[in-house]
């Protein structure tokens, strides 16, 4: 496809692409803009795009009134904890499957994947009941474990596909070069595996951050992360457009930035390596 494209055609395609891109992005853009408006400007008709009095007032109000920091902290702990725990458990498993494959490796991988396809409602009540019995309903630890479990198959799969790309000859070379198993892991494998592990952590952090079935159903007050915090705005009495926008912007901003780094891994992680 390396062919000179006339600059007019390029300009045309660019215009179309930008218009469509901005249309798709518009709800997010609009939310961000509205978060800097006063409540009255937020519902002004006709609405103004940028010519309004920019204010940070909403952020302050949301911050004070809703104890935003606690929800944020819960989100960080739940998403971060479940991802780290998942990676800790998945690294050895993926490692073994990639470097010591047996005839059953493929079956185990597919079976792991199949657990991911279990609809959550199918197990909603038992999990709810178990949480009550263990006294961990509305606790962060329960969500860390549950989100770790639902993302574990994806983590194992992603790591597996990354590890498989490390050529076996390199490990053999290290062995020939006199590396013990410890040095082989420390000096050769780990540095080569780190980019893959980092991508896996990133994508799964995002998935856990946005998870909105278990976080809504198993939390009330103390462990509620941002997903639940935002959902609380759906009741009409809490509805203020500008404040809702500020809250939403705060909830999605960190992830949009992380997401920008993880575009490539997204395809790979969510198609289980079937599309690269």
């Amino acid at each position: 496809m390396a062919r000179a494209v006339s600059s007019r055609a390029r300009l045309g395609w660019s215009a179309v692409a930008w218009v469509i891109g901005l249309l798709i992005f518009f709800p997010i853009l609009w939310t961000i803009l509205t978060s800097f408006k006063t409540e009255s400007e937020a519902i002004a008709s006709p609405p103004s795009l940028v010519f309004f009095d920019w204010t940070l007032e909403n952020y302050e109000v949301v911050q004070e009134r809703s104890n935003y920091a606690r929800f944020l902290w819960n989100s960080i702990v739940i998403a971060g904890g479940s991802t780290l725990l998942g990676v800790l458990i998945a690294v050895p498993a993926a490692w073994a499957m990639a470097f010591q494959p047996t005839r059953r490796t493929k079956d185990i991988l597919l079976w792991m994947l199949s657990t991911k396809m279990l609809p959550a409602v199918g197990v909603l009540y038992p999990i709810y009941l178990i949480c009550i019995r263990l006294g961990v309903l509305d606790s962060k630890i329960a969500l860390v474990v549950i989100l770790m479990l639902i993302n574990l198959p994806i983590i194992v799969w992603m790591l597996y596909t990354y590890f498989r790309e490390i050529p076996g000859e390199i490990l053999e070379a290290a062995r020939m070069d006199g590396a013990s198993l410890r040095s082989e892991i420390l000096y050769v494998l780990t540095p080569m595996a780190i980019p893959g592990i980092a991508s896996t952590v990133l994508l799964n952090f995002i998935l856990a951050w946005n998870e909105a079935f278990w976080t809504l159903n198993l939390t009330a007050v103390s462990a509620a992360p941002l997903t639940a915090f935002i959902a609380s705005y759906s009741s009409p009495e809490g509805l203020f457009f500008a404040k809702l926008s500020a809250a939403s912007t705060m909830a999605i901003a960190p992830i949009l930035i992380l997401g920008w780094f993880s575009q490539k891994q997204l395809v790979r992680g969510l198609t289980f390596g079937a599309v690269k």
Partner: protein
């Protein structure tokens, strides 16, 4: 330093035995080439010597020490892999120094050895680059550098040139040859390319299906191939093999004549004659593919570089009588 003995070793993967009991002795300082078609077990044999695969039975000795159960790292061997297997996250310097670092050598000595190797291999300007920034030939040199710094008892090469283009391959062949001359260390070299085997080896081991077909110097193999397989495998273009009445005349089932041992001449004054098909003009030589001789579908003949024969011309062929190889019904050489 560097004498290797294989004693009745076998290797099986599950039910299939890829190497039946095999004996081989590699002398100190020898350049030994394992050659054979793909799947003949030559790489497996190398990996058994390296210790990257366990032997199923038998013993391997290096300098009189039984290393059968010794892990690869402690066998004192260095290996150059087909894919070069360089560590992508390390600079060239660190790649070459890696085995020394693993051996716990002090920094100053490491640096000295790395720099010496780099000088020998023309890598001095590239020491701080990553493997990804090097060309194929340079990567190959780094892999060799990593092997020579640790002064191993023997070098193992697993088809090291197969990822290079033709011109580079020729250059690297010379370099490895030079290296062997200067280091005088045992080298075991695996290839499927008989030209590499012929040009580099002190001793060639021809393998087929895990079995050693013949061991000998390049010229021994060329002059006296022990069987039809070796006869067909060694030499380029390949030997002409004739069966039927012509072979009977020599009391053999099959006779073989190399293209360079057939004289092209007057069709009416030669024992064989035929029509020239394709002729390949290489400048120094011309390879004539002659049809319609009634002996075989095609007979290849090496003629003078400026021979005036063209497609469709009639040509007479005279084999050199001393250079006719005779084989019996089992394909074995008749002395």
């Amino acid at each position: 330093m560097g004498q290797i003995t294989l004693n009745q070793i076998t290797k099986s993967f599950g039910e299939t035995q890829v190497i039946p009991p095999l004996d081989l002795r590699i002398e100190e300082g020898e350049f030994v080439v394992f050659v054979g078609p793909s799947g003949c077990g030559k790489s497996t044999l190398l990996r058994l010597i390296a210790g990257l695969e366990d032997v199923s039975s038998g013993h391997i000795e290096i300098d009189g020490r039984d290393v059968t159960d010794v892990p690869p790292a402690q066998r004192g061997l260095a290996m150059v892999f087909q894919s070069y297997a360089l560590y992508p996250h390390m600079s060239v310097r660190k790649n070459i120094a890696f085995p020394l670092r693993m051996a716990g050598m002090d920094e100053a000595e490491q640096k000295k050895r790395v720099e010496r190797a780099a000088t020998v291999l023309n890598l001095t300007d590239y020491l701080d680059r990553r493997p990804g920034q090097l060309s194929g030939g340079q990567r190959q040199r780094v892999a060799i550098g990593r092997a020579i710094v640790r002064e191993p008892a023997a070098f193992l090469f697993d088809e090291p040139l197969s990822n290079l283009d033709a011109a580079l391959r020729h250059g690297m062949r010379m370099e490895i040859g030079e290296l062997h001359q200067s280091l005088a260390t045992t080298m075991i070299y695996v290839t499927h390319d008989q030209v590499e085997a012929m040009t580099m080896a002190d001793k060639i081991v021809v393998l087929r299906a895990g079995v050693i077909e013949q061991v000998g110097s390049p010229l021994e193999l060329y002059r006296e191939p022990r069987n039809l397989f070796v006869a067909g495998f060694i030499g380029s273009p390949t030997m002409n093999l004739l069966t039927g009445p012509e072979a009977k005349k020599h009391d053999a089932t099959t006779i073989g004549v190399r293209p360079e041992h057939i004289e092209a001449g007057d069709p009416d004054a030669s024992p064989w004659s035929g029509t020239v098909g394709i002729s390949e003009h290489l400048g120094s030589d011309t390879f004539l593919h002659v049809h319609g001789t009634g002996l075989a579908e095609t007979i290849t003949v090496r003629a003078d570089g400026e021979v005036p024969l063209r497609h469709g011309d009639r040509v007479g062929l005279t084999p050199h009588p001393d250079r006719i190889h005779r084989f019996d019904a089992k394909g074995l050489r008749i002395a």
